[in-house]
């Protein structure tokens, strides 16, 4: 019975050292080896190729390590710079909110420097329509939300009080009403400046504003004639195309003094679209007891001169 259980072992034993009486065809084998190309020299070549491949892998690993070694510190440096910028902005914001009592000039300069450090190409202070000349800055009184996206545009809401020149506003329509106003407060709120110019800078100024206005100014003879007049007036006022582009979107809030006591008014001059075909489209909404809408030409006649105003 035990033999019967181990019949598998007996099967194995029967096949041990089993070599059928056949002869191998070495010539056929040699031909196959020749076709396969595995001669001595070929094997040496294979060995060398393998060694070269190993060396290439090693070199790749080393190169990748070097690349990482060079890239990672740069990224860390950028992160550090971003952190410094953020802290500068927070500090400036706190100062503007009165948490830190320091003059606005220093904080504005700090923000300016921080932005310039990050992306100098995106912050063209020279191209600003309202250049923040430190000499014009007196004090800060308003602080809004700071939104800074150095990749797209630099925005600040730092508010400066400037000594702006006197301005004269001329309407193009026949004069039926002519008043001369003194500007008590003028706030220039510049928005949506393309590029990376400082957005949201609000500038309050003191000066005088002379307005020559006319009801029904929109009833000019023809649209083209009106457009030509406006373009001519704009160029005469120094608002050439480049200045107009730079000033697009600027809002000027003001209050007028000198009107009759029963009709005080304040309003906002919005430079809507200097880039349109009609280069000078300035609408003014008078928000007071009376509401007026008219196009006007701004002219500066104040002591700072045209150049400073244009900036």
């Amino acid at each position: 019975m035990s033999e019967n259980l181990n019949w598998i072992d007996r099967l194995r034993q029967s096949f041990e050292n089993f070599e059928p009486k056949v002869e191998g065809n070495w010539n056929a084998m040699q031909k196959r080896l020749d076709v396969s190309g595995y001669s001595a020299s070929e094997l040496d070549m294979v060995r060398r190729v393998k060694a070269a491949r190993r060396f290439a892998y090693g070199a790749s690993v080393v190169a990748a390590g070097l690349a990482l070694w060079m890239v990672i510190p740069e990224v860390a440096e950028q992160e550090l710079l971003g952190t410094e910028l953020e802290s500068s902005l927070v500090e400036a914001r706190e100062r503007e909110n009165g948490i830190i009592s320091e003059d606005a000039e220093a904080s504005a300069q700090k923000v300016h420097d921080a932005i310039s450090d990050v992306h100098p190409s995106n912050y063209h202070s020279e191209g600003l329509p309202l250049k923040l000349d430190p000499a014009l800055i007196e004090r800060s009184y308003d602080a809004g939300v700071v939104q800074l996206d150095p990749d797209v545009t630099a925005r600040t809401t730092t508010t400066f009080i400037l000594n702006l020149p006197e301005m004269t506003v001329h309407a193009q329509a026949p004069v039926e009403m002519k008043e001369e106003f003194t500007v008590a407060d003028v706030e220039v709120n510049k928005r949506n400046e393309e590029g990376s110019r400082a957005e949201g800078d609000r500038i309050s100024a003191t000066g005088s504003l002379e307005v020559e206005s006319e009801k029904g100014a929109e009833s000019a003879n023809s649209a083209s004639a009106k457009s030509n007049l406006e373009m001519t007036a704009a160029e005469e006022a120094g608002f050439n195309i480049s200045v107009q582009e730079a000033c697009a979107g600027t809002e000027v809030s003001f209050a007028l003094n000198g009107m009759e006591k029963g009709h005080p008014c304040s309003g906002t001059l919005v430079m809507v679209d200097f880039l349109s075909r009609n280069p000078l489209l300035i609408s003014t909404k008078m928000q007071a007891r009376m509401t007026l809408q008219f196009r006007c030409v701004l002219q500066e006649t104040g002591p700072l001169g045209r150049d400073q105003w244009k900036t």
Binding site: F15, N25, M29
Partner: protein, 189 residues
């Protein structure tokens, strides 16, 4: 054949020396032919399998680390080549578990097992194995003669371990019946 002589020729094969390759080929050809003969009874096919196997031996001989048996290393290559060849010739033949003849034989499962003769020849065993389906034959050969585990068989034949065990049991039963009934290799009581 001394161990030293074998090492010499193995090193020669690693250098691509034709004489060493011929020595190895002639030394192991018959043995490997017998191994492959268990997987298929067609001599021409066995010849092809052995040729293909030796080609693999010579082209991959650098992978032989001299730690194990050189004969075992060649045998392993030959078995793998034979399995691949059978799979190539008969698609999904190795995955089949159906065997009508075995089902017929299974009816006598509860009968008393006949006593096998004390010895049988290789030819008798090969005759019995030729009647197995490729799936049973492969599992039986791998497990009984080539010492593969069921896990290895399952992986090699792309079947489950359970199927491997089941196929082995059925193959054993059939071989036994074939040896006893067809070849008369039983002990008369």
């Amino acid at each position: 054949m001394s161990e030293k002589e074998l090492r010499l020729h193995i090193d020669g094969c690693k250098r691509g020396d034709r004489l060493s390759q011929q020595w190895v080929f002639e030394r192991y050809y018959r043995l490997m032919f017998g191994v492959c003969l268990r997987y298929t009874s067609d001599h021409d096919r066995v010849q092809d399998i052995v040729q293909e196997g030796f080609l693999k031996v010579f082209t991959n001989i650098e992978g032989f680390t001299s730690k194990g048996s050189f004969e075992g290393w060649i045998r392993r290559i030959m078995v793998n080549t034979a399995i691949d060849a059978v799979r190539k010739w008969k698609t999904s033949a190795l995955e089949s578990t159906e065997d009508s003849e075995l089902e017929r034989l299974s009816g006598s499962e509860e009968e008393e097992e006949p006593m096998l003769a004390d010895s049988f020849t290789v030819q008798e065993v090969l005759l019995a194995m030729n009647k197995l389906s490729p799936a049973y034959r492969a599992v039986f050969n791998l497990y009984v003669f080539d010492n593969y585990s069921h896990a290895e068989i399952a992986e090699k034949l792309h079947i489950s371990v359970g199927a491997s065990k089941s196929n082995l049991a059925k193959a054993k039963r059939k071989i036994r019946h074939l040896l006893v009934l067809d070849l008369g290799l039983k002990v008369e009581k």
